[in-house]
Point group: none
Chain length 249, copies 2
């Protein structure tokens, strides 16, 4: 069966099988059925998930499991992270309704769009959030804002479904995949490492995270990443012999 173009729901390190099943059910209620898990705490397949999914077991059947978030995002062009808290990273926040419209536009262009949900107890880490190009917040009651996992997934699905816009016709996407972005970021980090940019090893994860978020939220396209690779090559090019001797003189 082919399914309509739709976003991928990614549960990052979900703790309870029951909740995975409930998410599957909430998704299918809203016509969504592409589910990925990153490093679930309990082994997969999981009986508790099957029990709570009930007749939404077709979502579980096609579910994909990844060891790392980077693997799960490798083919994704556009990544929304759901978070209840304001975060220090400077990634733009979108209300869920706008995010869904934005996601539909991307999907219409042939992009792979992902929505990330964190573990039940703690939500997404800043490290995971740095991989998103947009943050998504559910405007619940500020005095009691915390949604459980399946309910957050349900509200996203509901907004997806209620959004009346049809998915625009497909055209070739220009946005890069997370895999391409990752390759650039790894190269940048490695160049910076060799130049002693990360003064202490303590500092490195934080700085790397900030760099990641800068380039994630820019939503780069193919030619822009090519250019950034070119920039990196140019900037790190060893000074030529002529220049060295000029400088030495």
């Amino acid at each position: 069966m082919t399914i309509k173009p739709q976003p991928v729901i990614i549960l990052v390190e979900p703790q309870m099988g029951e909740n995975i099943g409930m998410c599957a059910r909430a998704m299918l209620n809203c016509g969504l059925q592409r589910l990925r898990l990153v490093n679930p705490r309990q082994s997969w397949p999981n009986e508790a998930a099957k029990a709570t999914a009930a007749d939404a077991d077709l979502v579980l059947r096609d579910l994909e499991v990844f060891e790392t978030l980077d693997q799960a995002l490798n083919d994704c062009h556009c990544v929304f992270a759901t978070t209840a808290r304001d975060r220090s990273l400077n990634i733009p926040f979108m209300p869920v309704g706008d995010a869904v419209v934005d996601a539909k536009k991307g999907i219409g262009k042939g992009q792979q769009v992902a929505f990330l949900f964190g573990p039940e107890a703690s939500g997404l880490t800043n490290k995971a959030i740095a991989r998103a190009d947009r943050l998504l917040k559910f405007p619940t009651n500020p005095e009691f804002s915390s949604l459980n996992l399946a309910q957050a997934v349900l509200l996203l699905g509901w907004e997806w479904r209620r959004s009346s816009q049809d998915v625009e016709s497909f055209s070739q996407t220009e946005a890069i995949s997370r895999g391409q972005l990752e390759a650039f970021l790894l190269r940048l980090e490695s160049e910076l490492e060799s130049k002693g940019f990360f003064l202490t090893s303590d500092m490195k994860p934080h700085s790397a995270k900030t760099l990641r978020s800068i380039f994630s939220k820019a939503r780069l396209n193919d030619s822009e990443v090519k250019m950034l690779h070119g920039v990196l090559s140019a900037l790190t090019k060893p000074v030529n012999i002529g220049s060295v001797s000029d400088a030495a003189e």
Copy 2:
């Protein structure tokens, strides 16, 4: 504490305490806190309900229990019944969004407005539905339409909340001035120029424009621009004497 004018949520013959607690939580997520039970299957108060309500226990504390639906509806002016099925009764159906607007109008006139939800397994009986002046259906996936109780309550609450307030403004970390961005871009261009990045002078304006757009759309903040300056300094740092002699050997 006085609470804002709002509808009453009535659970008719709920079967499981857990679900009552989940409903309380979903309600409070959306700022609703007036809950009534009609003839719950399990005795009340109920420990399982308290456990799943978590910090929404204030909803349970003020909850009212009635023996019959007629008693629970006694002070209500306007009654919406939620049902997944089409019914033979000739009561007008309303989409949930319209129902919420209608409910608000009634409440604005001082009316008591109720939303009825049936037992988990079977939904409302025709006898219960006959007490409603409007029917309310959630337009879920027709091939998998059945919502669990707390999720149906959540979607009603969500629609109530989204109609009762304008979308909250999503504040964003203060963006840098165009002047700060310009300074960084000029420095980047100048470094690239000196490294021969711009192969021809024709090419330069186009490449510079692309670079500008990459960093413009990232909506950088102050500390991010500082970091990018640091990156530039690190990448362009001349190789140290040791490395030069290594390379020369």
